[in-house]
């Protein structure tokens, strides 16, 4: 049972670190746009833009 006194702070630490990671991700915009990253995968790697049509 004495082990609990060690395990509980450990589990809290792990849980807190995950919470911190999640909040950091949320704050940096990880969950802002959930649609376009999926579309980017199917695009080719070359750079393309609309500008060439004008020049």
């Amino acid at each position: 049972m004495g082990m609990l006194l060690f395990m509980i702070p450990c589990s809290l630490l792990v849980a807190l670190s995950f919470l911190w990671l999640f909040c950091r991700a949320a704050r940096s915009g990880q969950f802002d746009d959930l649609t376009s990253p999926g579309e980017k995968v199917i695009l080719e790697d070359h750079v393309e833009s609309r500008e060439g049509a004008e020049h």
Binding site: M1, L4, L5, I8, S11, L12, A15, L16, F18, L19, F22, C23, A26, R27, G29, F31, D32, D33, T35, S36, E39, K40, L43, H46, V47, E48, S49, R50, E51, G52, A53, E54, H55
Partner: protein, 858 residues
Amino acid sequence: MMQSLGRSPATADHPLQDFSAAPPEKLRDLFQGATPESYACFVPSIVCAACCWVLERIVQSVSGVSEASVDPVGKVVRFRIQESRLSGVPTDGTGNGQDGGEDVRLDRTLKDVLKCLSAHRYEPLPMSLAVDQSAARDPRAAHQRVMRLAVAGFCFGNVMLYSSAIYLGEYAGGLSATYETLFRFLSAALTVPSLAYAAKPFWMGFLDDLRRRAVGLDTPVVLALVIGTAYSAMSLFGETGGHLYFDTITGLVFTVLVARFINERILEQAHDAAGSLSRLLPESSRWVKPGDRVLVRKGERVPADGVVTSEVPAELNEAALTGEFAPVMKARGDHVFAGTQNMSDPFEMTVACSAADSRLGKIQELLALARSQKGRYSTLSARMVRYFVALQLLVAALNASFRWLSGAGEIIETTTAILVIGCPCALAFGVPLATALSLKRLWSEKVFARTESIFDTALQVTDVVLDKTGTLTRGAFAVSGAEMKPELDPETRKALWLAAGQSVHPVARALHSWLAQSEPSGQKTQGECAPGSLPQIQQNGQKVQNRAEQQFQVTEVSGCGLFARDEIGEMLRVGTERFCAQAPFLSAGVFPHWVSAAPAHPDGQTPVYAVTRSGFLGRFGLSDEERSGVGDFLRWAQERQMRLHVLSGDTPQSVAALGSRLAEAVSGGPSAKRGLFKTLKGAQTPEDKLRFVEHLKAQGAVVMMLGDGVNDAAALACADVGVAAHGGVDLAQSHSDLALHGPDLRALVSFFERAAICVRAQKRVLGVSLFYNVFALTLASAGYVHPVWAAFLMPVSSLSALVAAGFWISGAKGGHGAGARAIDVDARAVSRSSHAVNRVSSTWRVRQKYSGRREEMT
């Protein structure tokens, strides 16, 4: 993309072209992002994910920028500028002190980014100009919503761990006092962030309620939290060692947050359908002015409503407005609408009004109105929520005082349970959600409702009043019968086609397109089908027309027809019988016998004659075609036992002719045509129509009026349900409750079906949640519900209301959510296909340019 022939004057007025000349402080204000060190700009030319990819790299390649992100939906580019001590960029000593140098560097970097964006043809605009203001919203609010959820979940999960240990300890016969105290204090400590941070929206909502002196959804939640916390704190620090409710408290915060999060997300998505309309407009729509001449290339979208000025007819996809994917031919003089897409060769147009005044702009206004006006059941549910919360508080108070007086105990448990489980969240969420989903599905079918209450009223309709021209019929002439001289030679035929093409009169246009599509029987010998000859004529059209313009001159005589003259003199006349008979090149009695003998108006057709020097050419009967789906709608209305009335400004004869034709079509034979229409009236003035509708209403009927013209507007406004038909004038649309944006009248049938589904779903949600809440209140005051159970059941009930509302709305017909996404998919797919056209042609140039640019920067 869009190249205006009058670009230079338009861009001169454009407010931000000269941002490089703007003072630095102003520049920073304009592009200030959510936080002091971040910046944001609105880039309307973002079209797809490829643009985002490029933009992120462009912005990141500017020295001094630490990170860049692009929001493709809101068309917003966000970036951060590095602090100088981290960046390797030396300040070039222009600033006096550290701060001054820092400011100069900031301004320079910002200016670099903006210049770089516009050099790549992504014109940056300040966020205040963003089309979709929701995208301009501070993203931190959304971040906080997610983080609150995370904190609440973290606290709840860990508190559950310790309370389980305590419960287990009690069950197993005793936990050592040290551990029990440790667990109790740990769960108390973990409740603090949940209450202080995650539950903040509830506290704020409660304060708002207090300020308004009303009770809302947050009131019972907050009361439950306060009572639970107070009791638990007392038992924690008191000597009794009583029960702790920290698991209930954190669970309540978490589950309510989850339920509201899901509800908000669904509502946001439903309302996004309206926002996606504005994304159909190209960037040039922001600066074109009435009178500008604009070239619309293949695949591009029309920036504003206007008139075609090119000679060559254009094909436009108007699916964004009407839902019809078949391209529509637009010849010179025809109106084109903002947001429609050019499927054919480039054409030129003159802008008639700004994007805000365009048809698409009007639709958006309509949608915004629909959102702001509540229907009967929504109002009812909002009122019921308030009464129910009051009732709930009363029950809680009565229960507590009764238990205290009678000494029954369990005061805290039952009060908390009542406050939690009786909370009418299902009531508050379910009905608005059902309405939002229904409206969204209607939009995808191009039916735009102005109010929510229309759903209730539509189901009680007993009488349908219909306008004829433009409502039951297309409102456009088409040649429905032709009696031509058999040996009409191709030259004469072409001359007739060209002469008719010079006029913008609807009759001439109808004749023109009919001649292009039909071929005389003699030329069909090669096995070509009639429409196949259209391109041939069109291809030659350009050349021939130039020659034709030199050859003959076309003059219109209003109310009579038109004549063409060549070098010799007048050679062709098209028009009324009298006008043609008076042609100077004809001797009297040139009309064949059968022409004078045959009835002039068979089936209410309008006859048009054509004569040349060589004699009589032919007679064409023009009539207005019925709209598609008219028969289906009438049959459906007849089955529903609605009384049908037709009121038209047209002659009584043509109304009667149309009436019997429709009756035949609907009932399948002339024998049963009696009784389809209760009233068939011609020669009606707007006042007559209004009086008729008023008369019906006075008799207790619920009237639906379907019309399109200025003369219908008063009657539309008076009717219980006014429906503006496709192609109707703005006045009719602004006076109606419902606007059909597709030509097919079957949309109206599906509107009624949708209305029935929506009202049924609203009633069910109301009924089920009321029953659930009353039942739960009874159980809780009897003491059967433990607060922990209540904390679980409450959000479960509201979530199930959401799911049920969604299911009842979308499960009734078609795949789940398939229709709801249609409008969005449609908009994106079309914009992407137009973008693809340009991408193909520009790939290698861009590659070259971009790599050059990168070298220059690094």
